[in-house]
Amino acid sequence: MLNTFVVYVENKPGVLTRVASLFRRRAFNIDSLTVGRTEKPEVSRMTIVVDADRDEALRVEANLYKLVNVTYVENITGKSSISRDLAMIKVSATHGTRSDVLELANVFRARVVDVGPETLTLEITGPEAKIDTMLEVLRPYGILEMVRTGVVAMRRGGLKTDEAAVTAAPETGAGTAAADDNVSYSV
């Protein structure tokens, strides 16, 4: 199953290589990895989606923690969180199909970001599944080009992700996960 990890790392050269090297070295399967700045200049934040069973996911977490430049790791799979992927999709759009494509874009709340004589380029943001569905629907029209950013994710609720679990003992896999109560369910 897919596990989503939120990983805080020191914003230093080579840290991405260390994380990527770990996944290669331990033969963990990365589905997607995003990295970017955070509210603190010295910290970068990664969202890593890994295809792993429960035991393997715990090993991913423990191994990430072993990296000296990793300051915080949380597996947010199954926890109340928001995850978003962004895609740009260039679809073939002729006279006959253009309005259909536009209508579909509307349904998915995608934005048109470029119009060419024979193409429409759509931008869509949402959970991965929503984008997958839209791609499926657009496929018959002809997808000429597509790019996705990979998932970024964040816990819901008042506490920041790294504060929410700092007090909890790291899970070893031998016990059970702590209950997750400090969340709200607003959209």
Partner: protein
């Protein structure tokens, strides 16, 4: 005061308590070597950078202090790779310092440029590239802290030539590490302690699996109290040997592929395994599918990533072993376990005990005899044995009884040939008062025998016992057992080791008869300088018992009937 990066480097090493480094100079590290004149640190010139890393490793394992190796960029740095990987797999705290081309040249494929931080990324606990003098002090402070804390391991610090030459203000005060993401100080929850104690108290057939972590944590006394209080027998991993006294009635010896048959059977029949600072290596478990099928498992381990990696456990206590045992001991009940211990005693008696007396005394020289004789001769003295990997290593583990920690130093996880001689030199440098023996095969010895010159130049007395069987013995054994005796590429021609040692100014003698072993060992111990002994042993002897790779732990290949073997030899 304004100082160069090179000067700061040595000063910081001194602050860390470093007195000896093992290294080899070259272009990119020359500024550092030039600044050595301001330092009291003793530099040991090695003959190959791999030797420097093994020496630092031996130094660290013998003393518990961080070992330091120095090399130049490019080939100097890449030659360290094997030694770094060895230290990584055996959790040995070493700091490797390499020179790097000037920071402006990085990425240009300059002369002797290698991306050594990239190369060593997966085989170091952490590594650094330093490009300015102002980063040197903090980096060295962090490198030593990371190498020696938590689960120890190698750290590499790559310092560009301009970082060594550039200057900055340095007041000589120690700089604290700034490592927000490094938390080596984990500890278990009260619930986990309680669960562990419940499992122990309700177990009928428990066994302790004692690993290297005991020695690294310094928890020998605690482990002993724990085992004695609850009468739990103790099996040891290869790197755990010495963590629990060999002569202790609860000691069952070494486990695993070439472990004691009764111990492997004990593990398979146990209802509780209590692992202390060990990582269920494949050489210890045999087939995981059939490993200790009826046992609950408690894993006390400092590295959370080891938990549930190979063997799924019921309770994991993650943290420093000594601290955890101190927490458990006051709550640990005294239990007798007479039935279980009596059963294990019967196992010991019932099985064809691998005893040195079972070896035919037909005048041939057996490695087991040699090692057992060295043990008997050195009994009660402060002796450290350093081995390579292979048959001689397993015979050492079986026939040399280690009472104290840090008296067996061996390449366990990586199984590095050529480790013994340089590591032994490092051991002797760390503990000059100890008697140090490098026990090596004829194959492994030839990989790093150039370090004999280092030993002579440094005036260090390391005794070298070559277990010379004319084969790459362990590989030959596998060919005998699993490849139809097709001895492809294992017969090994060696130089005349006695003449070779003579060329280095080392006293040497060849031994071919058992009767010569004790007098030669006596002479070796008395002689002031190093002695090399070429023990020309039985060529096609094998290590028994043996659990074939992937077989269940109790399925052991036993030594054939010794009487038949004698007849065949005659």
């Amino acid at each position: 005061m304004i100082k160069t990066g090179a000067q700061i480097l040595w000063e910081c090493l001194e602050q860390q308590g470093v007195t000896t480094v093992f290294g080899y100079p070259g272009g990119a590290i020359l500024p550092a070597y030039d600044a050595l004149k301001y330092s009291n640190i003793h530099h040991v010139l090695v003959r190959h950078e791999q030797g420097a890393t093994h020496m630092a490793d031996g130094y660290a394992r013998a003393s518990g202090r961080v070992g330091v190796a120095v090399a130049t960029s490019g080939p100097g740095a890449t030659n360290m790779v094997t030694g770094i990987a060895t230290a990584m797999l055996d959790s040995s705290p070493i700091v490797c310092i390499t020179g790097q081309v000037g920071s402006k040249l990085i990425g240009s494929d300059a002369f002797q440029e290698t991306d050594i931080t990239g190369v060593t990324l997966p085989i170091t606990k952490h590594n650094y590239l330093v490009t300015h003098a102002s980063e040197v002090a903090r980096t060295i402070s962090e490198a030593f802290y990371v190498a020696s804390s938590g689960r120890p391991g190698p750290v590499l610090v790559d310092i560009t030539k301009d970082a060594q030459q550039s200057t900055c203000e340095f007041d000589g005060k120690p700089v604290a590490p700034q490592l927000p993401g490094y938390r080596p100080d984990l500890s278990p929850t009260p619930t986990e302690y309680k669960q562990a104690l419940e499992l122990i108290h309700s177990a009928k057939r428990p066994v302790i699996l004692a690993g290297h972590g005991i020695i690294l944590s310094g928890a020998m006394d605690e482990v002993r109290q724990f085992a004695e209080r609850n009468n739990i027998p103790v099996g040891l991993t290869l790197l755990g040997l010495g963590a629990f006294p060999a002569s202790h009635p609860l000691n069952l010896g070494m486990m695993g592929m070439h472990g004691e048959a009764w111990l492997n059977t004990t593990i398979q029949e146990a209802d509780l395994l209590i692992a202390f600072g060990m990582r269920f290596d494949d050489r210890v478990t045999g087939s995981l599918k059939t490993y200790a099928p009826n046992a609950k498992k408690i894993h006390i381990e400092i590295d959370r990533a080891e938990v549930n990696k190979n063997v799924k456990v019921d309770v994991a206590l993650v943290g420093d072993l000594k601290a955890i045992l101190r927490e458990l001991l006051p709550k640990l009940k005294s239990q007798e376990r007479r039935e279980w211990l009596a059963y294990i005693d019967r196992l010991k008696g019932d099985v064809a005990v691998r005893d040195i007396q079972n070896l035919p005394d037909n005048g041939h020289l057996y490695a087991a005899h040699v090692i057992n004789d060295i043990w008997r001769q050195t009994l009660g003295s402060d002796t450290v044995i350093v081995t390579d990997v292979g048959q001689h290593q397993m015979w050492e583990a079986q026939y040399f009884k280690h009472e104290h920690p840090r008296t067996l130093i061996t390449s366990g996880g990586l199984g590095t040939m050529g480790f013994a001689l340089p590591a032994a030199i490092g051991v002797k440098a760390a503990r000059p008062e100890a008697e140090v023996w490098a026990v090596v095969g004829d194959g492994g010895f030839q990989m790093t025998m150039s370090e004999m010159a280092t030993m002579v130049q440094e005036n260090l007395k390391v005794n070298i016992a070559i277990i010379n069987n004319g084969y790459l013995g362990m590989v030959r054994q596998w060919q005998e057992f699993f490849y139809d005796r097709n001895y492809e590429a294992t017969p090994l021609l060696s130089p005349n080791f006695v003449k070779l040692a003579d060329a280095y100014g080392i006293r040497a003698v060849a031994v071919t008869q058992r009767s010569e072993v004790v007098p030669t060992v006596e002479m070796t111990r008395k002689h002031k300088g190093p002695v090399l002994i070429d023990f020309q042993v039985e060529q096609e002897d094998s290590v028994y018992p043996m659990v074939a790779a992937g077989a269940a732990l109790h399925e052991m290949i036993r030594r054939p009937n010794p009487l038949e073997e004698t007849a065949a030899d005659a």
